[in-house]
Symmetry: C2
Subunit: 374 residues, 2 copies
């Protein structure tokens, strides 16, 4: 059995017997509509403010050292980020976006009969990375209020004697909703090392709710918690590919050989250092996000289109009719909206742009209503 | 047995039983001497010319889209690189440096009892990435003329019924020497799919020898050849982290789920596109490299210090005495030279800098001789 699962991912039987891994869920990465053609991008949860002015300057200056391996800029980033987070540097690790942290966790914890327990819908990268490995993937529907169903997830973990990764995306992508941090804490407190908690906090800085906080403190003593963060969202650096993980030093050491070496790239490192030094950056990003959200809420309320409460830079709203048709009509109107997130195919995920972009979206949506499309 | 090897890399037995993977061979990445302190860096095979002017401009312009995921710049890079290499785009894949290509090959081909056959000394990243996996690593000494000992490597592969990765770094790092491409071709021609040839051509553009050519043509029909290239060397983009692989489309599909998603980063992509459009870039890099090499050869000949013939942007030369002492003395003189590459501890690896930097190195080395240090 172990041998069979190994063979499935391995080489031994020759290439002819190895089925190519399907790329479903990745094709949108290559969508030519990503090109710069004047389309408004409300599709990928990007920060519409763009690089902070200090980061723009850092990139300009950083060109001088772009021919050198990034050891020095990595060192400098650690020197800034560790005190910023109040975490010793041996609990930090970097990657090309938070997605690299997710990749290494999935790879390093792979074992025969291991479970991967996650929500549906949630961020697709974790199940994507698990495909070549012998994980049993359990996708648990969100609760009625769009939280992770921790009770059901825990039942699955407890029903098995095998190791498990529990992926908790909090706030959750694509729903924008929260899972009670107290409930997450309770489970972690009661857990054994057999269960790895992979907690994705990509949208942490947008959330402002008394029931929500980071899982970071657990990494001081627990080896079974990995917290994942990114510079793609609040810091507007999605193109530069910089994420970081926080974990116990033992866990960092276990993950290290799975990381691509010589990360992070120099330009991302210098832009991040500069951005962390801009004390108003987070406030600016949150502020423009709130204004965009208010415009969108107003429009959806006017049209009577239900939407989920959001703690991020996007939300899910109801559409009527077929989602693919809706997406195509928006594209024809010059607006890229979210991709389908099964099983929630009666909802569109919309990322927040600049206020003027949200006004244009609102106007377009009202036009759809006037034609009976939503 | 399979279960035991799986457990070694897995999670099942609880974290306490899992030995942390040693980080030997990685510590130099975090060496504080990588900092910008006026030291001459002749240590990491970087291109001293820095980013090409067109790439510098591309980075400046690229800041406008740095908040967006790199789908569009990836698309644009494929549109330029595929015709440049005369390779259909389904045979290309990108990563954060050529090291990511090496990582995914090692990970995707892992299987119980698989062999990893490589030279010693050679580039350390491949054995580094193999550590968590159940590879049997066979490090085969170079021949008397510092080529890969393909005969001995082939005996090892043929003596086993198990799959194998054969890593061929050509030209070889750290020696700068070539392995006959005709001999490589002969082995590939006779090989079965059980043997994966991972051919690292990071220094391809520096080599100019009638017995040397790329293994790229094999990827048209063979699924068991992966060619790895980089923008770090001839294109002077080491800090920006961009490499690419060339392989059969089936092989690309097999590697894909091991790659970090959303690669490459936007800044590297736009810099690479611009650099590929600069028809004089390769010539400039080769030219300055030749001048540096001539200065160094002159000095080493004067001092009677033996050196290996090089087809790259570095060479290995003899020292007398202890290598660590030599490295430290050079550092005190403000010159970072190569790290130790066992078993060749009677040699220093020296990367080529600008001609004026090589003059300073030569002067320093003559000073060492006058003190009896070399």
């Amino acid at each position: 059995m172990e041998r069979r699962t190994f063979l499935r991912t391995g080489f031994a039987a020759g290439a002819a017997t190895i089925a190519p891994v399907p790329l479903q869920g990745m094709s949108w990465l290559f969508d030519p509509r990503h090109a710069q053609d004047g389309t408004i991008r409300l599709s990928s949860n990007e920060n519409p403010l763009g690089l902070a002015p200090v980061a723009r300057q850092a990139v300009l200056d950083g060109r001088e050292e772009a021919n050198r391996y990034p050891g020095a800029s990595r060192r400098a980033l650690l020197d800034v980020l560790a005190p910023y987070l109040d975490v010793p540097e041996d609990r930090l690790f970097f990657g090309a976006g938070s997605t690299e942290m997710l990749r290494v966790a999935v790879q390093a914890w792979s074992a025969p009969n291991a479970r991967l327990v996650l929500a549906t819908p949630t961020f697709e990268d974790v199940p994507g990375y698990s495909r070549p490995f012998p994980y049993q993937v359990d996708a648990v529907p969100l609760t009625a209020d769009y939280a992770h169903d921790l009770g059901r997830m825990r039942e699955i973990v407890d029903s098995s004697a095998h190791p498990a990764i529990v992926y908790i995306c909090n706030p959750n992508n694509p729903t924008g909703t929260l899972t009670s941090s107290a409930d997450v804490d309770a489970w972690i407190r009661a857990s054994s090392d057999r269960t790895l908690f992979l907690v994705d906090e990509a949208y942490l800085e947008y959330a402002n709710d008394p029931g929500y906080w980071s899982a970071q403190p657990w990494t001081a003593d627990r080896t079974n918690v990995i917290v994942v963060r990114t510079f793609s969202k609040i810091y507007a650096m999605a193109g530069m590919r910089l994420g970081y993980g926080i974990a116990h030093p033992k866990t960092v050491r276990r993950l290290q050989p799975f990381l691509t070496r010589n990360n992070p790239n120099h330009m991302a490192a210098v832009a991040a250092i500069a951005s962390l030094g801009d004390s108003e950056l987070v406030g600016r990003s949150v502020g423009v996000n709130s204004r965009a959200k208010a415009i969108l809420h107003g429009c959806l309320d006017d049209l009577g289109l239900e939407y989920l409460p959001t703690h991020t830079n996007f939300l899910m709203h109801r559409i009527s009719g077929e989602l693919r048709t809706y997406i195509d009509r928006m594209a024809e109107a010059g607006i890229r909206v979210g991709r389908p997130f099964p099983p929630m195919l009666e909802y569109n995920r919309l990322s927040f742009g600049l206020p003027e972009e949200m006004e244009r979206f609102a106007e377009t949506l009202r036009g759809f209503r006037s034609r009976g499309w939503v």
